[in-house]
């Protein structure tokens, strides 16, 4: 039903290229973990290794405490929801969802009952006899989910399952995935390149870059207290101000040496950290906020991105005194 | 399991290449018969074949018929595909089926039909009649390939050209044909291949001027000879050279 996943010093290579470089990760049973990163960062590779579709060149993967080296996908307690869903086009939805059960020797009436149960769980009751080509993309995605859950896996792997859906549908599915995961309690490992999606559904986010883990933690932690420059920039727009011995181009702001990180929405007309007078270079209305690019008078080369309140009226060339309400510091 | 796979592959290759290897090896036979034992290496059969006037003439005939009939088939097929892809004509499904129909009929039957008509109308058999037959078998192929290759990308380009004032002929020449060049080349290449090697239509619809397969057939009638091996090997060499050249120039070109 559920199990923990232990990834220990796993590396993977494709010819001369290193896809994963000595990656270690502990995932607790019942956790919803999101592997987040740009294309080529190794997230899908890691997912495939957990699923058993490839063997790492070094390191081990344990599921529920058992070493999975050399264990085929069929024998592992994992199932995968593929990016293109891979629903068997020549089978009905019931046969698709019941396929795993059939492989385990479950009788036909039992399979049918279970299939209908899981189709109802994912919000498709009464469609058991339809064929995949009769469904929309979002519906197919749910069937793929039902099929993967029907065999009660310990770990469910999802390979960018929402990528083909439009925005509204994606948001709805994100909520549903979260709800289903809470209900069944299975460990979910979900791969995506969309940081908003990651924040919406993850218990913990694992930010990956170039085959290594760049940051790890609950969404709030990763967003507000990034563990690396890469993670900070990937999670959203970020202002980076170099600090040397407590000195920045804008004066003494924080002690230490490293990079001062401030989110655009943390900058405004009031706050604890004075950024000084800044000249507005451009401003645009973005619905929920006004996005402006400003150049501090003290350091005109340092361009800052600022999110001002929705009602702000900002003119290009205007000078305003700005402050930061929240910040993070990455020690060098 | 994988070992069984490689073994099967090896056996399959062996089976597929067996007759070809025998053909080529015994084309160098220094003896009268192209059968074991191998009596020594000689090029005399190649010399004989190359200096055989009838054979060389037949080769020329084959090339002529192949290129001309393929060119004609391609031109007509391309125009027809363009017409059906661009304009909504009534009964287009039927028309498409009609144009493709000859592909499903045995060449023997096509030849017999043409022979019937030519005999009844007093048309004399010649390379022209063979060419007509070859156009019949290659037209469906050219049409199908061109039609299948026509896509939205090229349709919008045509529309843009028309919008800029080009006549239909110019659109075809300057936009459609160049954009479809790979498909056109493939269709032409395949048609030439089919026509070049085609036997039954050439056999039934020619009289004095023969194509190469028919000439080789009459060579066979007079018994086994390494000369047949020699011409066969030469043809094989030419064919695979053409395929390799096509691979290099047409299919490997960077986009």
């Amino acid at each position: 039903m559920t199990a923990n996943v232990s990834i220990r010093s796993v590396s993977q290579r494709y010819g001369p290229a290193t896809a994963l470089d000595d990656v270690s990760l502990e995932i607790a049973a019942g956790e919803f973990v999101v592997l987040l990163g740009p294309s080529g960062c190794g997230k899908t590779t890691l997912l495939n290794l957990i699923g058993g579709f490839a063997e790492p060149v070094s390191g081990t993967i344990l599921i529920g405490g058992k070493d999975m080296s050399g264990v085929s996908p069929a024998a592992r307690p994992t199932t995968t929801v593929f990016q293109d869903y891979a629903l068997f086009p020549h089978m009905s939805l019931a046969d698709n969802v019941g396929f795993g059960l059939r492989m385990r020797g479950v009788s036909r009436p039992e399979r049918r009952a279970k299939a209908e149960e899981f189709l109802a769980l994912v919000g498709l009751p009464g469609k058991a006899d339809r064929r995949p080509h009769e469904l929309s993309g979002g519906q197919r995605q749910r069937v793929a989910l039902a099929r993967a859950l029907a065999v009660a896996p310990d770990v469910l792997l999802l390979d960018e399952p929402l990528g083909a859906l439009d925005l509204k549908l994606r948001r709805a599915m994100q909520d549903e995935l979260k709800a289903i995961q809470r209900r069944v309690g299975t460990t979910f490992v979900h791969v995506t390149h969309d940081q908003e999606e990651a924040m919406a559904i993850a218990d913990r986010i694992v930010v990956m870059n170039a085959g290594k883990i760049a940051d790890i933690g609950p969404p709030r932690e990763v967003y507000l207290r990034p563990g690396s420059l890469f993670s900070a920039a990937f999670m959203g727009e970020i202002n980076q101000i170099p600090v040397r011995d407590g000195q920045t181009a804008l004066g003494p702001l924080v002690p230490g040496t490293g990079t001062l990180l401030i989110r655009p929405e943390a900058i405004g007309l009031h706050g604890t950290l004075p950024l000084g007078p800044c000249k507005v270079e451009d401003a645009a209305f973005f619905g929920t906020h006004v996005r402006a690019h400003v150049a501090p008078l003290a350091a005109p080369d340092l361009k800052l991105t600022v999110h001002l309140p929705q009602a702000s009226v900002v003119a290009v060339g205007e000078v305003m005194s700005l402050f930061a309400t929240d910040h993070a510091m990455l020690e060098a | 399991m994988r070992l069984a796979g490689w073994l099967y592959l090896a056996l399959a290759y062996g089976f597929v290449f067996l007759p070809v290897v025998v053909l080529v090896v015994f084309s160098f036979q220094d003896g009268r018969l192209p059968v074991p034992p191998f009596q020594g290496f000689s090029l005399r059969w190649y010399a004989q074949v190359v200096s055989d006037g009838a054979l060389m003439t037949a080769l020329w005939h084959s090339a002529l018929v192949a290129f001309v009939s393929s060119g004609l088939a391609l031109a007509m097929g391309f125009l027809a595909a363009h017409a059906l892809a661009r304009v909504r004509l009534p009964g287009s499904v039927f028309l498409r089926g009609l144009l493709i129909a000859p592909m499903t009929v045995s060449y023997l039957i096509i030849a017999l039909g043409l022979l019937t008509v030519f005999n009844q109308s007093g048309v004399k058999l010649s390379l022209w009649t063979v060419g007509i037959g070859h156009v019949v078998i290659n037209l469906p192929l050219c049409f199908a390939i061109c039609y299948g290759a026509m896509g939205d990308h090229q349709k919008t380009a045509e529309r843009a050209a028309r919008d800029l004032g080009a006549s239909e002929a110019r659109v075809l020449w300057f936009v459609s044909a160049p954009m479809l060049a790979p498909a056109l080349a493939a269709a032409f290449f395949l048609s030439v291949t089919f026509s070049w090697d085609e036997f039954i239509i050439a056999f039934l619809l020619s009289r004095f001027d023969l194509t190469l397969p028919v000439e080789i057939w009459s060579m066979l009638r007079s018994g086994l000879s390494p000369a047949t091996n020699a011409i066969g090997s030469l043809l094989f060499l030419v064919s695979i050279s053409a395929v390799i050249l096509m691979e290099i120039f047409l299919f490997r070109r960077p986009k």
Binding site: G100, R147 | Y13, V16, A83, L89, P213
Partner: protein
């Protein structure tokens, strides 16, 4: 004139050459041949009479009927054997050979395709003949004393055909297999299916239409072929194309040849009707 009718005129104009050619040199000749099949010979002249006598002969005279039976038997045998041999070959190239070398492996597998068809059949004669490679090899090793009668038999014809069609089917089946998403097999395995179960429940049903299409093309090409049986089959039995050519050559009996050709076409149409459920000719 309106834009639409101007366009239509253009469409018909571009379509005309191909259409006229097809009608003039395919449809009309075919109809003429069918008409001829209802005539019969008197001496050396063709008498145009509506007389189904040729068809009666085709099915009542044993020599005629036997040719049809031979053709069907040989063609079915060849089709089955070729599919059975080509499928694993295509599968191995598609799934076992590394992606980089697949094109090459495929090309090598079908290279002999590019020998002249006539020469290719002839070269099997060199292999299977009394003095041929196989017999000479077996005798040299001492396994047999007298040459085996391999050439000029139905077996030789079948081998000659299978050689050709294995190559053709490998190409078409490979094209079919390669466009099957690898995720289907992965999904099946992920859900607990072993290799055989994956093949049975997923691979086979999804690739069957393509295979049947290839088998149909094989059937049509094989049953209408004159060359291979003529070179390799010997005189003991004839196939339908051989009989047709015989009627034309020796007796000059065009009407009979025409009738037999129509019978040949009818067989093909029947087979097409039989498997049209699976056939996707556009997927070839």
């Amino acid at each position: 004139m309106s834009l639409q009718s101007a366009e239509r005129k253009l469409g018909w104009g571009l379509l005309a050459p191909a259409l006229l050619w097809t009608v003039a040199f395919f449809v009309l000749p075919f109809l003429a041949m069918v008409a001829l099949s209802f005539a019969h010979m008197e001496g050396r002249a063709i008498v145009e009479v509506f007389d189904p006598g040729n068809y009666v002969r085709a099915f009542s005279e044993w020599s005629q009927l036997k040719a049809l039976i031979n053709s069907i038997e040989i063609t079915v045998t060849v089709t089955v054997i070729s599919v059975v041999l080509a499928w694993p070959l295509a599968a191995i190239i598609a799934w076992q050979v590394p992606a980089r070398y697949q094109r090459l492996a495929l090309l090598v597998a079908v290279l002999p395709f590019w020998t002249s068809y006539v020469v290719r059949s002839y070269s099997w004669l060199l292999v299977l003949g009394d003095n041929g490679v196989i017999n000479k090899a077996l005798m040299a090793v001492g396994l047999i004393a007298e040459p085996l009668a391999l050439a000029s038999t139905r077996t030789a014809t079948v081998i000659g055909f299978v050689h050709f069609f294995v190559m053709l089917l490998t190409l078409t089946i490979y094209a079919n297999l390669i466009q099957l998403s690898p995720n289907y097999a992965r999904a099946a395995q992920d859900l607990g299916a072993g290799r055989w179960a994956t093949f049975r429940h997923v691979i086979l049903p999804l690739t069957l239409p393509g295979v049947i299409t290839g088998a149909f093309v094989t059937f049509v090409l094989c049953i209408g072929d004159y060359i291979t049986p003529q070179i390799l089959g010997g005189n003991a039995e004839l196939t339908l194309p051989q009989l047709i050519m015989l009627q034309m050559g020796r007796s000059g009996n065009f009407p009979m040849a025409a009738a037999l050709s129509v019978v040949l076409m009818a067989v093909v149409i029947l087979v097409y009707a039989g498997c049209s459920r699976w056939l996707r000719l556009d997927r070839l």
